[in-house]
């Protein structure tokens, strides 16, 4: 790494990096507690598996299928991919919301920002309407 490159990043960083320390600690605490619980139950808990206990848990009913490794309907995938597309929309709205209420923004600038985002949401709203009418959200 050249000194210019890493030096630049170093200089930029030292101030802000400590802000993420709580995050690191939280991750460490989470990993420790989770790991400890798993390890304790493995070492201390009695294990006497039998036929019934090894069945997949299904709220007291007879399990529909043997284990989780069975083929699922493509419908799950369709819903998931539609979810991601509209999830993406909210990602674009988040920075917009963060800047819209910033103090010191001109009223006309605000208007333009509003029009831009209304266009975005409006067009994707029409997209949602299209999905709805095409029965993309129905589980037939």
């Amino acid at each position: 790494m050249s000194t210019a490159l890493s030096g630049g990043i170093c200089a930029l960083h030292l101030g802000t990096f400590t802000a993420y320390l709580p995050l690191v600690f939280m991750a460490l605490i989470g990993i420790t507690i989770g790991g400890a619980v798993l390890a304790l139950s493995k070492f201390l808990g009695p294990r006497r598996p039998d036929e019934t206990k090894s069945l997949p848990y299904e709220c007291g009913m007879e399990p529909i299928q043997q284990g989780a490794r069975e083929r699922y309907s493509i419908h799950f995938y369709l819903v998931a991919i539609l979810f991601i597309l509209f999830d993406l929309e909210t990602v674009f709205l988040f920075p917009w919301a963060a800047s819209f209420r910033q103090p010191g923004i001109d009223a006309t600038v605000k208007l333009v920002l509003l029009v831009e985002v209304l266009l975005f949401v409006g067009v994707l709203g029409v997209g949602l309407y299209y999905v709805w009418k095409r029965k993309g959200l129905e589980w037939d």
Binding site: V109, V112, L113, V123, K133
Partner: protein
Amino acid sequence: MEALDPIQIASKDFKYLLPVMLPALFGLVALVADLFSKSERSRLPLCMISLSGVCLAGFSAIAFWSGAEFSEHLAGTLSTSAFSTAAAMPVLLATFLISLAAAHHGMPTDPKATGWLPHSLSHGEFYGLLLFATSGMMGLIVANDLVTFFVALEVMSIAVYALTGLDRARSRAAEGAMKYFVLGAFSSGFLLYGMAMIYGAAHSVHFSEIAAANMSAGQSSLALVGAVLFLIGVLFKVGAVPFHAWAPDAYEGATTAVTGFMSVGVKVAAFAGGLRVLVALGAGGALNPAVGWLLWLVAALTVILGNAGALTQRNPRRLLAYSGIAHTGYLVIGLVAVSRVFDTSHSGYVTNVGASAQLVGVGVDAVGGVLFYLLGYAAANLGAIAVLCHLERDGEEVDDISQLAGLAKTQPKSAFAMTVAMVSLAGIPCTAGFIGKLWVFRAGVAAGDVTLVVIALLMSVLSLFYYLRIVVVMWMHEPGRGLDGEEQQVVALDHRRWASGLAVGIATALTLVFGMYPTSGILNLIKAGAGSVF
């Protein structure tokens, strides 16, 4: 970049965005309008929506983009000049003719049948995706920074991937779409990596600033690797060897209309966008002679393998796919010539006082050649595709050139149009294909790549075989007799297919007009475009 006054953008600059956004708007209208159509009888209303979108986009492109001077808008993310209009014309021509040619897709042959073929039901999605892709292509042509370039490229690609797999009645469609998508995503990765490196070397994503950067001094290796990775991404989109593996399967799997749209629209937009980035990189000093030689190798391999692959094809879509690869090769010769301009021994390039790059001499010749070639290729290839769409019956498309046997006797107009298209694709004089080839080859010779041009010439001669074979089959064979003398069903004339007939007529007329009377308007536009890349 200084901060913008949004009001100023809103009032003044957004009109430059119209040719990009109008197709998308009409695509949305087509998508929603299809939800309300009660009967599945006809695609014509949607076709009309599509045509009006294309026409409005074309008018606004001529009105707002055609300035002979290169100018930047919207914080430098868009740039327009005559080059944009000249490159937009073949794209819009493709959308226009494909909209028309596909208007009767799936129409039952029996005049009393009311229903349409089930797999042609997705009318709205077809026209919607067609127009979304057009929007991406237009964006690619005028994009002036790497971010906009990439988003526009993805708009185009995603829409075209979906269009490829549209015809679910054929399992080949799914296969073609899958290959295209996976390899396309892979090439997007290359493109992005290249962009990141170009940004690292030039410290800017704006093309003008990349062109003004001095990358030859310190960051030469970073810029060079970035340029090569970027070019790999672009060469994939145009289907150049060795990045062409997807093309035959995708073209064969897709519906004929989509094949035509892919082969013309994607190629034009990727070449136009790639050319601008190439010039920017060259002006910024990111290219060294090695890039020129890599492109040289790609061009040679592409013309050889494209033409050789086409020789044995009997499926017309697959044949057009390989022929499209070959034409990509001829066009890459133009890119080679452009990259040579930036070698120190050439003089096709000057830097103006205003630090903006300017091509002269060989550079202008190469860009003009590429632009004219794209227009001629668009007209001829769309003509052939429109004839194939015209001959589709009950969703059954022409899958073997034997089915064209004796077409001159049964449908002389279609046979004539197909002949003109084949002759132009082969590059025989009096057609647009000839002038385009002449122009590009001349630029290649002027740039000093005589060997490459000789290879391309030899391969053009070879291409006569497979183009003229179709002509021979149509004119010399008896109707109903295939290539090997086997029985073939004769495609009956269907007078209700006026829209695809119109598309055939327009494409043929344009091929002949561009070839025999390259009207001064078109020539002036292309010459002005070649001089105003930057």
